[in-house]
């Protein structure tokens, strides 16, 4: 790899909002290359670490999933505030993805159909601990500024690797034929 070694390791935070964790699994599909990666980066807040909140000096924030509830909005703002570069990873983060198919339905009808039908429960969960759903699912770039987009559902491990190595080497990430996929 010909990426210039940074003076210090870059701090990378990752999270899943209205995601399925598939993009994180695909990230792990870089397999043993993750050993090369941790030479260059250290992981901050992420589902694969135990860190609860982003350090204020994160270099990279990688986010899978769109925005579907109030907590997603808070986490997204935390990432934007603390990460120099924000990457929307995967179809959900980029255009809402398959979860956004709920946007053609009324949210109250959906919740009632799932939680308040005979045999399925008595009422829609209303404890204030539970974040409220937004009326519609939104892509990340409709809430905060996003610097880079990495398409795919999920992007392949190879696509993620190409993207990150381009970025770490100071190049604008590009995915050529075979790596760029929306599905």
């Amino acid at each position: 790899m010909n990426a210039p070694l940074p003076k210090r390791k870059l701090k990378v935070a990752t999270t899943s909002l209205a995601g399925c964790f598939g993009c994180h699994m695909s990230f792990l599909d870089i397999d043993e290359r993750i050993l090369d990666l941790v030479e260059l980066v250290e992981f901050d807040r992420s589902p694969i670490t135990d860190i609860k909140h982003c350090s204020p000096d994160c270099d990279l924030g990688i986010i899978e999933g769109g925005v579907c509830n109030a907590e997603n909005v808070h986490v997204l703002h935390e990432f934007r505030k603390n990460c120099k570069i924000l990457i929307a990873m995967g179809a959900c983060a980029i255009n809402g993805g398959l979860p956004a198919q709920r946007n053609s339905l009324d949210i109250r009808d959906i919740l009632a159909a799932v939680y308040a039908q005979p045999g399925r429960g008595v009422h829609i969960p209303n404890d204030p601990e539970i974040p409220l759903l937004l009326n519609e699912v939104h892509p990340l770039h409709e809430v905060v500024k996003i610097d880079y987009f990495l398409p795919g559902c999920p992007p392949s491990g190879d696509a993620i690797w190409k993207f990150l190595t381009d970025l770490l080497a100071g190049r604008t990430p590009t995915l050529g034929h075979g790596l760029i996929h929306y599905d």
Binding site: S104, E136, H141, E142, Y148, P151, P173, G178
Partner: protein
């Protein structure tokens, strides 16, 4: 035969016959120009604008000796007749940027959730977006909320993916002679309708073998009980980028 006439496409000499449009001559010569609404079997439509090129840009030298490019006019190559000696720019950064923007506009206008679309891997809109390297939607989503029409026994319509190319309208009127489809509404309410009293596809005489049922370049007009038949990795644009093949429609036989 009189002298063959030629024009220049990105500096390459392209022969043409009188009456041919720029895209027709280019595709005949094996040169790809992106297109969605153009189909060699139908009259040009001019709606998608993906085939836009620049014609006859000039470079002039100013009084202080600087070279300044004066851009020629932008035109849809599917409706513009080829003319001898014309200089046409297609694969230039400015035109590629414009095409990228057009594809982004189409992608946010509909609900293009490719991960669950039966057309994924052989969709011309998607193939074009890949080829142009479209990584982001740029614009906010429109989130269209049109009903799916599943009233027909063999054909399904997901109108949230329609790009209004009118290929189905043209195919039904000109080839099948059935007039099953039409476009209705204005501005962003413009949408595809079925010409039956109920407005449902099931009440038209569309047959699965009709040209109109097999011409849609995207995932709107779908055949029921056929989907996800080609393994990932072996679909059309898995194997080769869209630009590998000058004419997008002719060689593809859709399953019936």
């Amino acid at each position: 035969m009189s002298d063959p006439k030629t024009f220049f496409l990105d500096e390459e000499e392209i022969p043409f016959e009188e009456g041919q449009t720029i895209i027709q001559a280019a595709l005949t010569a094996g040169k790809y120009i992106p297109h969605l609404c153009y189909h060699p079997e139908f009259k040009p439509h001019g709606s998608c604008k993906l085939c836009t090129v620049r014609i006859d840009s000039r470079t002039v030298t100013t009084e202080d000796g600087q070279s300044v490019k004066i851009p020629g006019r932008a035109a849809a190559s599917c409706t513009t007749p080829a003319q001898a000696g014309q200089h046409v720019e297609s694969e230039v950064p400015e035109i590629l940027d414009l095409r990228r923007t057009l594809v982004q506009m189409l992608l946010v206008e509909g609900n293009h959730y490719c991960p669950s679309c039966e057309k994924s891997g052989k969709c011309l809109l998607q193939g074009l977006a890949y080829d142009l390297g479209v990584m982001d939607p740029h614009f906010p989503q429109y989130f269209s909320k049109r009903e799916v029409d599943a009233s027909h026994p063999d054909i399904l319509l997901d109108l949230n993916r329609c790009i209004l190319c009118e290929l189905c309208v043209r195919a039904s009127a000109e080839v099948d002679k059935k007039n099953v489809f039409a476009i209705s509404g204005r501005g962003n309410t413009k949408h595809l309708i079925c010409n039956s009293e109920s407005g449902e596809l099931g009440d038209t005489n569309l047959a699965a073998t009709d040209k109109a049922a097999n011409v849609c370049p995207v995932g709107v007009i779908l055949h029921k009980r056929h989907g996800f038949e080609v393994p990932y990795g072996q679909r059309r644009f898995d194997k080769a980028p869209i630009s590998d093949n000058p004419v997008q429609y002719a060689p593809v036989k859709e399953q019936v």
